[in-house]
Symmetry: C2
Subunit: 386 residues, 2 copies
């Protein structure tokens, strides 16, 4: 076996997920090469070799592969064809771009769940206005969700719509590209389970995370771990999440986002074949973080323990409305005085409205205590112009 | 107040202590500039600006100061005069080089304790053979310890000697430079307390660490936290450690090494005005690690909680005897499967006998459990030629 301490890992994407992967892996002496179009991206200062180039650029991806022993990606919006060609040639890519290919298309993703008996909401693939109307009628629900099959991200390319409104006026169809329409799920909670699976097929899951979304931004605001669900629901959520990853024959880290319906059913919403916002708390709250876990998988080390050390709440730090540019984190002093509060900034030089600038993990002895601290933290901080 | 997220910190020394400071501070967006003579030092890959130069080189130190908002050091063997000159000119240096000046000279250090009523063993400063003989007679103990006043490090410049042997044959005096001779303390345990003190004078201590030394190497082998001492002894050890740092009017992180004598007395042995090997476990075992704590002090953020989350044992990873060069960590796979085992490698490209290559922190639910795991870990690992 190759000396794991000498593997050179190439990362497609230079954002915060890559940065935290490197932060959490420095202690393994891992060498990271990074490709990103932005010369001031969060990964740049920590990369062994930084290649500047788009993630759609075949040539640059091949260049990254040439100087790396294996590749991974920290974002789905990459040139999958280039990765498939490399995989064909024997380059190890974790997770496989074949999974990326399915996941990048929300239509293929839903079809995959259906084929593999993964519980998920009813859906139809549409493009023309007639297909929209037909699908809305077949769904038969008052509200439904429309998602563009490709290129959706952080709330972009997603709309919650009233069936009646579109049926009455097709000019209100919000997307012209191919879409996936699905029944709107009246959900009790939104859950996420991070799953780690290695080359041997060993699979572990992290305790479920409960998400509360900010209705204005469709970006997560409070993420609580463990989720406040029954032990039976917890078991079920982790089981479904692991089944999804096994169905993909996935190797790597996967975030499985699920709905717990008002009827107590668990339905898979989406899968991200990478480390995920809903797993950031694992850095402080679990024995092995999602990032260190990915490194273990990449280096072919045994999977680490996913056990929770302390209950945690995570909040995202988003760029404030009303200004772009150089910033200061107001409230940093105040919140730093609270025990178990971990501020993570992503090294972005400019704040922009709604931009993910960082996150804060808050540990508590109980979920309630962590939540109380998180609310206090949230009330104290914001980005201001510097 | 300057935006803490924009401070540029200059570090004298590019070793593992600087590396872990950077690792633990990446999440604060801190910019680090590093000076070290070795172009392949552990800090190099993570530094914003790396200056190659000796730590005795005035010019390079001034160059580092010119591109940094404040300075710190990760090793005592630096050009104190250059730092004193900079401090005189108003450059902020944490801790103050005035403390370094005292600590660098084990004679001055002992005099400082005496003057400030810090409990420490009896001592004499000597240089000539006559002074040696006089001091040995005055100490009146069977065994004594001789330390060169300057340049001692990791067991170098320290000797435990028999009074009788030197009195009978002065050619057995091991050092020709100025020395500090002190009574040999029959100690029950060796303890270390890490103290953090900020500009406001706020002072906190970490729980005591108990050290077991390898008699062959005089390098720490097992470090256990909390130390297995009484609550009263713990209180006393932390109090003495904080008093030492207050006496220095120290700002920064300090490691106070102490003896718990067979009679239950606590005596200060030595102080290091920097993060320390005996505080590495704080990365995983405490709410704020010694490294993050130093960053808080440097950035003028409130002190973090020093509370222990889980009992921990730390072992150093030393280069194996018998070879130098490229290495592999045998046993890495096996120990990675154990929950709560954190392998830290310092990014050194070559192993050398006794070189500090890394450390491993082991968390347990109890001290006993952590110890048992640590012994298993220790039996499984060693560096081998790659």
């Amino acid at each position: 076996m190759q000396n794991p301490l000498k593997k050179r890992i190439g990362i497609l994407g230079g954002g915060q997920l890559g940065r935290m992967l490197m932060m959490e892996s420095t202690r393994y002496n891992v060498h990271f090469n990074v490709l990103d179009k932005d010369d001031s991206c969060p990964c740049k200062p920590m990369a062994d070799v930084f290649l500047q180039g788009g993630l759609d650029d075949d040539k640059k991806i091949f260049e990254l592969a040439a100087i790396s022993d294996l590749l991974t990606f920290e974002i789905e919006h990459v040139n999958t064809d280039a990765l498939l060609a490399l995989e064909e040639k024997g380059v190890e890519i974790i997770p496989s771009p074949k999974i990326l290919q399915i996941v990048q298309d929300k239509g293929l993703q839903k079809q995959f769940y259906k084929k593999n008996n993964i519980p998920s909401s009813d859906f139809f693939l549409v493009e023309t206005a007639n297909e929209w109307l037909d699908a809305i009628n077949k769904l038969g629900t008052f509200k439904f969700v429309a998602k563009t099959r490709k290129d959706g991200y952080d709330g972009k390319g997603v709309a919650i719509l009233q069936a009646e409104e579109i049926l009455n006026d097709i000019s209100k169809i919000p997307f012209s590209q191919p879409c996936m329409l699905e029944a709107f799920v009246e959900c009790e909670k939104e859950l996420s389970v991070i799953v780690a699976r290695n080359r041997m097929g060993n699979t572990v899951s992290y305790p479920s995370v409960e998400m509360e979304f900010d209705p204005d931004a469709n970006l997560v605001t409070y993420l609580t771990c463990p989720a406040k669900i029954t032990a039976e629901q917890e078991l079920k959520a982790e089981e479904i999440a692991m089944n999804v990853v096994k169905a993909f024959n996935g190797v790597g880290i996967f975030a499985v986002e699920m709905f717990l319906t008002k009827e107590g059913q668990i339905l898979v919403n989406e899968v991200a074949p990478r480390t995920h916002n809903s797993g950031h708390h694992t850095i402080e709250a679990c024995y092995s973080s999602q990032f260190e876990q990915l490194t273990r998988i990449l280096l072919d080390l045994p999977l680490g323990s996913t056990r929770l050390i302390k209950p945690a709440v995570m909040i995202n730090l988003l760029g404030a409305d009303g200004f772009s540019g150089s910033y200061r984190l107001k409230g940093l002093e105040e919140i730093s005085a609270i025990e178990g509060v971990y501020v993570h900034l992503y090294g972005k030089s400019e704040s922009k409205p709604m931009r993910k600038m960082g996150h804060i993990t808050i540990l508590g002895e109980t979920i309630a205590e962590a939540h109380k601290k998180a609310e206090l933290v949230n009330s104290l901080i914001c980005f201001v112009k510097d």
